[in-house]
Structures are given as structure tokens and as C-alpha cells.
Amino acid sequence: MAGNNHNKFPWNHVLGFIFSIVLTLLAVWAALYSSLSITAIVWTIVTLALLQAAVQLFMFMHIGEGEGKAQKGTIYFSAFIAVVIVAGSIWVMNAMMHSMM
């Protein structure tokens, strides 16, 4: 646990901050200045966003502390629900649109 390094320099936070900035700039570059196809851009920037969310959870929010297992379980489960809601809605609505045309 983070208990014994109270007085050290907050490397975790500084590194997390640098990672966040780099990941953000990479996403901007991929989306606006690269010559990737649209599908490749979407997959790239979504992956970068997930990485950045992980940086927040593990480096800033200390998700593993305290009741770490239950906390991680809750967030993984809610992430699963989020994927089902978002991807499922897009899938169902697009399939319906195609079958109506």
C-alpha cells in the first residue's frame, strides 16, 4: 500500500500526468494529422482513450487500495455494461436502418 512512501516525490502522479498529455496529443495527431483510414483512426483513438482512463484509475485514483478487489470488480463490471449499452445501441440501430432501406 502507498503508506510507506508518503514523503517521497509523487512520481506516480507526475508520470500519470505526462502519460495523459502524451496520449491526448497522440490521439489529436492520429485523428487530424495522420493519413490513416477512418476505421483505423476510430480504433486508434478509442484505444488511446481506454489507456488514458486506465492511467487515471491506477495512477491517480488508487483503485487497488482499501477494498481493492471489490472496487476493481465494480469498475470492470460497469465498463462491461457501458460497452454493452454503447456498442449494442449502435449495432441495433444501424442494423435496423439497413433493413429499412
Binding site: 500500500m1 502507498a2 503508506g3 510507506n4 508518503h6 514523503n7 509523487p10 502522479h13 500519470g16 500526468f17 495523459s20 498529455i21 491526448t24 490521439a27 489529436v28 485523428a31 487530424l32 477512418i38 483512426i41 476510430v42 483513438i45 478509442v46 488511446l48 482513450a49 488514458q52 482512463a53 487515471q56 484509475l57 495512477m59 491517480f60 485514483m61 483503485i63 487500495e65 482499501g66 477494498e67 471489490a70 472496487q71 465494480t74 469498475i75 463490471f77 460497469s78 465498463a79 455494461i81 457501458a82 449499452i85 454503447v86 449494442g88 445501441s89 449502435i90 440501430m93
Partner: protein, 203 residues
Amino acid sequence: MGHTETIDPNKPLEYQTEKSRLNILGFWIFLGAEVALFATLFATYFVLTGRLADGPGPGELFEIKGVLIETFILLTSSFTCGIAIHEMRRGSKKGLMIWFGLTLLLGLGFLYFEIEEFIHYVHEGATIQTSAYWSSFFTLLGTHGAHVSLGIGWMIMILIQVARHGLNTTTTRKAFIISLYWHFLDVVWIFIFTGVYLMGMVM
């Protein structure tokens, strides 16, 4: 509240009592519910993408400069909030208050730029009533902005409590929980930045 648990020097103050540990776990469960809430708003937004009803589209109105300013302000506020908790764990009440204060200022700065951006869109003819697309846009971003506003009010109240009572098992737990909320708002913003702004400018 004379709890008799002894202080374990290997754990931060906010984890010393069972009640605190369960409060923090409970807040994580609340954040799980918030993830589900934002997922429904994102799903609505993606399904309604392109439903412009002959109004302006996101590609014409989004500007990367303003969006990056908002993104970096919020990212930095998440960082200063993390440093505040680091200072709290060093036992520095002053450090906690200074870094929380900075976080608050950045939060207000974020709101200023976001409101400015919304006013710009409304002047360009994109209001919440213009089209299904802009309705879902303002609902998603407005819900996030409302969370930031609530977070600012909440953090001010925690600061008042810390100023009056110092760092104890109760105030550190409360400060830690508002820090979780603040980082969570940044997580949501990462997905708004990617899914709404970047994709809106690419498509």
C-alpha cells in the same frame, strides 16, 4: 465518535476505520452507476450522429484549439487533485488546501471555456432544439458540465471542513472521496474528447 481501532502507520488516514473503507467502496459503486448513466448518454449521442435536420453539423462548428484548452485544463486539474491527496497523506493540511484550491480554479476555468463554447454554438444556430444531434450533444456535455459544477461546490464544502477540523479519519475520507469524483469527471471527459470532438472532426 470514539472508535477504538488503533492507527496502523502503514495505511493512510482515510483507510483507518472499517466505516471509511466501506464508504470509499460505496463511492466506487456509485461511480459504477455513473458509468452506466454516461454510457446511455453516449449511446444516444452516437445513435443520433448525423441527424442534423438541415442544421449545422459538428464538423463546421468544432474547433480543436478551444477543445484542447478545455482538455488540458481538466487534465491538469486531475493532476493537481492527485497531488492534493499526496500532500494529505504526508499530513500536510496546508498542502491539501493549496492543491485543492488550484483544482477549484482550474475547474472554474474549464466551466468558463465550456460555457463560452456553448454560447458560440448557439450564436451559430446550433441549440438544444435545433436537431436530434445537437439535443444529444448538449445533453451529454451538459450532464458532464453539471457534474463539474456540483464537484466545485462539493470541494468548497470539503475545504471548509478541512480548514475547521484539520486532518482526521473523517475529513481525510471526505477529501479522498471528492478526489475520486474529480478524477472520474476527467475520465468521462477523455471519452467526450475522443468520441464527440475528435470523431466529430474526422467524420
